[in-house]
Every structure is written in C-alpha cells, then in structure tokens.
Symmetry: C3
Subunit: 257 residues, 3 copies
C-alpha cells in the first residue's frame, strides 16, 4: 500500500482461494485491457468475457494473451457454453477452449432448460479438461428457485467437480440472488451459507450496495463477481473500510476487539 | 467470427443499408477513439459526435480523421445544426461541414420551434452538400407528437432528401420514442412501421431493454442509434441471440422454421 | 473554440476562481489519465482522487505527476483525511501530503463525528501547509443538517482558512445537498447563497439534472464538483447552452437583454 494506516482489515493475496474478485470484461480493447491490468492487476483474480462477447471480439487470441501474460486467467461466460450445448455442439465447445488456451470454463443453465444430472455430467467432463466454475440461478427474473434447491444444486455441482459455484445476478444485478430492484434476497444467502462453505461461492454483485451488503455480512475477503473494470479500485476500498459505506463498520469491529 | 456456432441469425455487412448501428461519441480522446475502432470497427456504421460536443472538443480535425481513416463516417449532432439555425448562421454551418470534411449532417428540431416546410427546405439544401439524416421528435418530454404526425413528418423529410430519418430518444432514452420511464411507446412504433419502410428509420435506443425490444420486433438487422461505445459489443451479441435477453427468442424462431 | 457561434455565454478561463470544475478520478490508469487530460485539460480545474482510492492505486506518484505536469492540481478525497484522523494519525497524514507533493487537501467529516472547533483547527493547521478545501455535509442520508447550520459551518470553515467549501453529494449525488432521489434540496441551496459568496462554494453535482439545475440558477460559471471524467465535455456544453437541457434557457436570457 502507498502509506501506512493502522487497523486496516487484512486482505488475502494472490493466488487467492477466497477474498477473490472476478471482473467482467464485456468488450475492452487490447489497450484498455492493458490499462485495466496496470491499475487493477493485483486486485483481480480472474476475468470473465461476459456471456458470448468472445464470439464477436476481434483479436481475441491476442487479448487473452494480454491477461494470461499478467497472470490473470480468463474464461468465457456461461451463456456461451449454453449456446454450444443447445445446438448440440459440446465437442466444438471443448475445441474452442483448447484453441484459446483457456484453463477455466463456466457451466451454467441461466437461459436454457438443462436436466441437473446432465449439467453435472458436463461439469464432470469439463473438469477433466479445465477448472470449472458452475453457476446456479436463472437469468429469467420470473424463475425463483427456493433456497433448499439452491443448496442442493450447488452441492451437487461441487460434488461433480466444480471448483467454485457462482450465484447468478447478471451484469445488472437484478435476478437470481437479487430482486428486480437489486435488493439482496438475504434469506436465500443466509440459508445457502448454512450448508455451503463461503470460500466455495462467488457472489455476483455488480451494484455497490450489493457489494457492501456482502462485505458487511462476510468480511473483506468474500468472493465477489461481475465487477465492472472501473469498479475494481472502488471495491477494494470498500473491502478495506476506506469508503464511506464500510468505514464505520470496520472501525467498530476493531473497537470491539 | 471467432468460432462456428450453428443457426446464428445472419447479419448484414458493411456498407449496410439496414442492420445499421450508430454510436454516440460524447467526448472520447483520440486514443480512446482508436481503441473503440479497434474493437468495434466492423460493427459501427456511423458515429455521431453528440449534440454540440464538437464545439469544445480539442484536436477535432485529427479525431475526425481517425474515424474517417477507418472508413467510419462522422456527423455532428442535430443540436449543433439547431444552434446555428437559431442564430441565423446557416451559411456558417455549411462552412463548418466543409471545414471538417463531413459527408453527413443531421437536421433536427428537438430544441427549437421550426416550421416544417422550413425544416424540409434545410434538408433539401443540405442534401446537395452532404448525406442528410433528419430527426423527428422533441427533446422536451412534455411535447407528445401523435403517431399520424410522426409519419407525416418522416415522410416529408424523406421526400425532401433525407437519406434516413431518426427517431429521437436522447442519450438517456426517455423522450420521443420512449416514455419518461424508458418504456417504448410501442403503439407509436408499430403505427410508424405501417407507413415508413423499416430500413429508412434509425431508432435511437440507448437502453438495453429498448434495443432488445426493437430486435425482437424487427429482427437482428434493425437500425439502432445512440449506442454508447462500450455497448456496441453487447448490442452485437443481442442482435445475434447470444445474450440472455434474445437467446431463446432466436432459438424458437429457428425451431419454428 | 472550433468554430464561431454568436451569443454563447462567456466562460472564465484558467486559473479560474469561479466557473470551476472538479473532476473525480476513482481509479484511472496512467494512460487513461493522459487521455482524459488530452480531451478535458482546459475544462478541469482540479482532480480529486475519490475518498481513499489513493491507498490502493499503483504508481501513485507517477499518476499524480501526469496531472501536475498538465497544470492540474490533485487532492485526495476527504475520507482519507478522516481515515487518518480517526486513527490518531494526523501527523502521518501531513507527511503523506508532502510525500506526494500535494498542494491541496480536503478536510471533511462525512463519515466521522468531529467537534467543529476541532475540524476548524485541522483546517487552520493544514492551511499553513497546503490550500484547503473543506467539505460540509454527511455521507449518511439520515443525517439532515438544517440550512442555518450549513451556513454557520461553511462560514466558520472559510474563516479558519479554507480556500473554498464543498457541498457534499458523494459520487452518486444522493446525500447532503440532495434528497435520496437525487432531487436538489433547493431551499437549502438558496438559503446558503444568501450568506456565502457563490464563488467560495463548490457544489458536488454528479448527475446531469443536478448540474443543469445549478447552471440555470447560478449561470455558466458556477463551481461544480464530483464530475465523472467522461462527463466533463458534456458538462461544458451544458454550461454553454449547447445541449438541449440549457439550450433555450440561455437563448431566452440573450433575448431578454
């Protein structure tokens, strides 16, 4: 850090198993990706190329190399997996992962109907090729999955070989873990945490109020995802109690020690 | 495209007469414009320098050249035309177009009262110098133009020499074609389409839900405008049914073939 | 300006005592800061590194130098001052200002309870080292300070040595000067202006509607702050009556002369 402040919460360092930040790149240029890394490289653990943006991104190989050279893994959003699956092109998907040297992949069913045994089978198969992040939750705001079901799905996906499970929120933060207003489904989150270890979950939390909510509940080192590139530095200050939103939260924790 | 997916909707290619994307640059630097082109060059058909931002933009000539060298035409927002007209400086405006080597210009009356014959006269005169885009709709959310009137205005402006007509929405998407909440005035749009050919219209649709609405109604190759630079790649995936919002829409179209 | 328009409101030029724009940098990279300066250098009078983002910003010294070389002073957000004060590290804070060659500093109490005499004492002490901007208003939307109290606080802080006083709004524009909806507390602003000279106040006004409101009330050359980097060019056009929002406001002023 640039100067010394006493009693700042401790953060995990890379390679992080928790305290993890996943950023969403939805179309940065090569130079913008370089800029992003220059400022946020220490704080970003993995970058998702949102949904199927990789399909239309020019110089894709070169762009991935920029992240990989900086030690930041890249993976393609789950919607791309679904686009291949729904077209019966799973083998083609596996080739795409190889072609682009990807070490991570997401398995999701946010836009398609997929029998859960079949989803777990895909997780299992892909986990022999790459590290798998699997996502639970629908992109359809009308489809409400009850908490016990979230837990069952998450547990089965971890058992099938997923490295971590992601709680769905989309880029906007208004489905899955959240109500359409962006409000956290707090009962859902709390119930999930009774069964699934917190370090195995990445919570998609694109809105500041959502990030603040998770950090207040679970501490500086909660895993958060779908963070916009220009919100990584702000998020880091929220994790450290150095923005108004968590300033007093962390100070009072210190004072109660 | 970077890999092969079956049954992806076909997109028109440049130079496009429809399937057209107009981006709004409201103050990118030269290097940001270069970055933008490097990632979105194939998907952007024309760039508008929003309203009168060109007045205060440094290195304006050089910036225009960056776009022109990439084969992307630039035009100045209609508010600039109105600023000249309302000051009795039409001839000065024509000189500005020449000075900056512009091949396109917008004629609008979103902020001023302008007799429609006079507006059409400006369109006619300017169409001898450049390709004219004319815009219908007020920037004042209180001024509601009824559908039959939109149709009449659009038709007369096309007759006067406009290459395409633009439906007003502003950068924010909450006037003209849309209610102040951003909701589409769907009856208006549908009625316009009974009379004006869809390839002659550019719908300003800055919000994602608005883009999705038009793409579901009119297909991948609808003309859309006022797209922010960092939303061009996302828009392209929506056009292709590769984002959650249109994923099932295009799949079910395929299945019904 | 790039071309001549008649009857455009006059703007002050650098170094400005009023008509002042304060931009908020919450994590630009070095190259992004260069880009920002290349397009907005003439329009930005001072840059705030938002709250305590400076703590986690890599290459901080180099980044500050980029702004300083362009003649644009940098200061660290008031939350950083508060983070040092609340930890009893005021002397360390003074050393940080020296270490980073800062000529400006902010004194605030948006997140902490600070006796006002003590706050004024900090302003007084720091004003011997740097130029002080002091901020009035809480970051807590529940804490409403009545107008006569705002005036008293502002006056005492100016008397203690503050160069200008800032009206709090946060990055989002929904506390302090504004209701949680973003609506201006107009009675508050008007009452403040009966006692404090308008050139001594910087109004944080991140939202466009807020900027428009202040410009309509106080003219092109009102001091505004917390402007996002990509909103500087748009703001400049609003100040000049060259965007729809103030287009007719300034024209009718002209016509009434």
């Amino acid at each position: 850090m640039n100067y010394t402040l006493k009693n700042v919460p401790e953060r995990t360092i890379k390679p992080r198993q928790y305290g993890f930040t996943m950023a969403m790149d939805k179309g940065l240029s090569i130079r913008e990706a370089e800029d992003f890394i220059s400022i946020c490289g220490d704080y970003v653990d993995i970058v998702k190329f949102g949904w199927a943006t990789s399909y239309v991104t020019p110089n894709l190989k070169e762009k991935i190399k920029v992240y990989h050279d900086a030690g930041i893994p890249v993976y393609f959003g789950g919607t791309l997996f679904e686009a291949f699956i729904t077209r019966g092109q799973f083998d083609d998907y596996r080739k795409v992962l190889d072609k682009y040297d990807l070490q991570y992949a997401e398995v999701s069913d946010g836009s398609i109907e997929l029998d859960h045994d079949k989803k777990c089978d895909y997780i299992h198969k892909l986990s022999e090729q790459v590290t798998v992040l699997s996502e639970v939750g629908s992109k359809d705001e009308e489809k409400i999955i009850p908490p016990y079901q979230w837990i069952k799905l998450m547990q089965e996906e971890l058992d099938a070989g997923a490295w971590k499970v992601i709680g769905e929120a989309r880029e906007s933060g208004n489905v899955g873990l959240f109500r359409s207003t962006g409000e956290v489904r707090s009962g859902l989150v709390q119930e999930i945490l009774t069964k699934i270890p917190f370090e195995k979950i990445i919570w998609e939390a694109p809105q500041k109020a959502q990030q603040v909510w998770f950090i207040k509940l679970l501490g500086s080192n909660v895993n958060l995802g779908n963070i916009a590139p220009n919100e990584i530095i702000p998020l880091e200050t929220i994790r450290l109690g150095l923005r108004g939103d968590t300033f007093n939260h962390f100070l009072s924790l210190q004072n109660n020690l």
